[in-house]
Subunit: 402 residues, 2 copies
């Protein structure tokens, strides 16, 4: 490694997904292919690993383990949610210099883009040559500058799969237990919730209603929606974002959220779905059931989108390539190519335009009533799930009564 | 159909699973093969379909649809939870006679076995020749007389898969968010919760603790267990039955269950997992997160056990065959053959010994401490998940710090 210009540090941050280890694999394999890169350090638990000088030696891992990362969910380096403060700046520079780290790749969402930008500025201000190329990752799909975020396609596939199956369950129960709410991640952005609509193959299939934070829906409107669907189908399946709102900035039922503390002094549980379930039971007298898969949405490898795993790998490699061309800051992006066949190209964008922003569902991706994604959204999201989708062909009996 | 001795009615009852349509397919295909059977009626929404004389014509369904039932989750005939009362007896007999129904197959769990037994007695008392052969189904696995219940293997596979993946997610979060509770179905029996232990491949893998209703655990013991695991691993993944107890007959934290009613007059949410989460936050000061996939456990087709789907199909056929041999009451059972290779044979048992009983996890299937299933349980449950299990090979980085 006599030619090595410097060492590389790679970290993972924020919530895990099924695809970020695939990005990690891309970074490592690409780094191994270039003599300009010396040591390959894995930050243990994100930026905290850098701050505490805890690095895993990635050169000494077996090639099979590196390869296996492409199909291992979660974050193999460990992750964290630490926010860098000015207090940490000196320490960061000390570690970077002591380790001769010249390349930093940070895999994460908005907060991680912000951390990457801070590292870049810190080094630039100190006159220390550092190439910081972030790698996007988030099931929320809320990063600017990229067609979509790796991690989102697989989470979307889990959500659509879960909705389809729990929808069949609810259909079978009929009027005996007619309302199902599937609670879906995304406190501020409805990308993942909207993906539930991909479960519908034929008119009348679940889901019947989809509510996202970007399109507030009044309590009256929500009750009317459910009542109408119940009359039509004798069961109602709702995809409900954990951040669904009744007015801009006002989460559904937030004034009814439990004010009591439990026996340990903590606020009692009660989110949007709990409120809506109570609302529908009270107003319509119907049994309402909840599925809250929570972290399964971002970790369920069996629902990984093949496209997602491949793209995540590709952008990991691209991040290293960009750093080696001399770029000193940026985030790898995906740009959808024109044409009927789905294909995305990897590009690069400045972190300045990405960090500390949030990309929400555009208005054209939800219908006027705010209860169903438009065809434009479906056309956007459908190819991301990859093939085979739907994963199998379900049947229904024809209702030939005798 | 000149030779037909009578018509057949088939129904599905209780909670759906991924495998009961496979049993339905077995019944229909077998019935189609025998001239003694005339019409094939599907009860619409269980026994209520019989009471309301609402039957779907199963002879007129397309063969592709019948075949497709083998890989369609939920209950294609619709299901219900209606309990037959003496008031209904006359009506039931009237419908059976008017339709010349001589064969009844009811697919379900304990309640359905009870309903089947009632139908048998009713017909016997009235001197009406009726063959009632029940088909077992329940993710709770709590029926007597059978090695296991169709539906359980697939739900167990979902639970083990979910635990494995959400366990990796928790491992990656480490001390930042170290405790995960996966809430698992089974209010009285711990079969499904115990299956979470199948996710562990190596010592130290999640889950770290498994709590079932049959083995009460004191609050102090539970807190100690979690603290010990946290010290050892920096994260703790718990498989928690929704019916876990702190003393025989006393659900964990039931005295703390919310007494308040919400704005609609309903009891506020708060089950075992909510209580334990609050307990651990309060006593250990650790972040605790919950996954509550609820009905996904019984409907997630992607996790179907191939063995389960095959056995469910086989017992459907067997039910018809038994009825045609002249048997007038019974439930089809599965008996595990001796030998190192897993194989179950379909048999038959009297409903008298099955209905209104509940088969719980035997003492030898949980360890002394009541927090981990024994090897005997693992040996029992492991083959039911079928191959390929685990569904893929995950890797871990070696912690070579530099």
């Amino acid at each position: 490694m006599a030619k090595a210009k410097g060492n590389l540090a790679i970290g993972q941050s924020g919530g895990p997904t099924v695809a970020i280890n695939s990005s990690l694999c891309g970074v490592i394999q690409e780094a191994l292919a270039h003599d300009e890169i010396g040591e390959i350090y894995g930050m243990f638990r994100g930026i905290q690993g850098l701050l505490s000088d805890q690095f895993i030696d990635l050169r000494r891992q077996s090639p099979d383990v590196i390869k296996g990362l492409r199909r291992t969910p979660s974050a193999a380096l460990g992750t964290g949610r630490y926010k860098v403060t000015p207090r940490d700046h000196e320490r960061i520079l000390d570690v970077l210099k002591a380790r001769n780290i010249r390349y930093v790749h940070y895999i994460g969402g908005n907060d991680s883009a912000d951390t990457s930008l801070k590292l870049h500025k810190l080094a630039a201000d100190a006159g220390y040559e550092l190439h910081v190329i972030a790698v996007p990752k988030t099931v929320d799909n809320d990063l600017y500058g990229t067609d979509h975020c790796p991690g989102y396609p697989s989470a979307a596939r889990f959500v659509a799969t879960a909705l389809r199956d729990t929808g069949r369950d609810t259909e079978a129960m009929g009027p005996a237990s007619p309302v199902k709410i599937l609670e879906i991640m995304g406190r501020n952005a409805g990308w993942l919730t909207a993906a539930a609509a991909l479960a519908r193959e034929e008119e009348g299939d679940p889901p019947h209603l989809v509510y996202v934070p970007e399109r507030p829906v009044s309590v009256e409107r929500l009750v009317d929606d459910v009542q109408r669907c119940y009359k039509e189908h004798e069961h109602v399946v709702i995809a409900m974002s954990e951040g669904a709102q009744e007015a801009p900035g006002k989460t559904l039922g937030e004034e009814y959220a439990p004010k009591e503390v439990d026996v340990f002094g903590h606020r009692m549980k009660g989110g949007v779905s709990d409120y809506v379930a109570a609302l529908l039971r009270g107003r319509l007298g119907l049994k309402v059931r909840l599925d809250q898969p929570n972290y399964l949405q971002r970790s369920f490898m069996l629902c990984a989108s093949p496209i997602d795993l491949e793209e995540a790998y590709r952008i990991g490699k691209k991040a290293v390539q960009e750093a080696l061309t001399g770029r000193i800051e940026g985030m790898v992006t995906l740009t959808r190519d024109p044409g009927p066949e789905y294909h995305c190209s990897a590009g690069i964008a400045s972190l300045e335009g990405i960090a500390n922003r949030e990309k929400k569902l555009p208005p054209g991706f939800m219908n006027e009533d705010g209860n169903w994604p438009t065809n434009a959204f479906l056309a956007y999201a459908r190819p991301l799930l990859g093939e085979p989708w739907p994963p199998s062909s379900y049947v229904r009996l024809t209702k030939l009564f005798v």
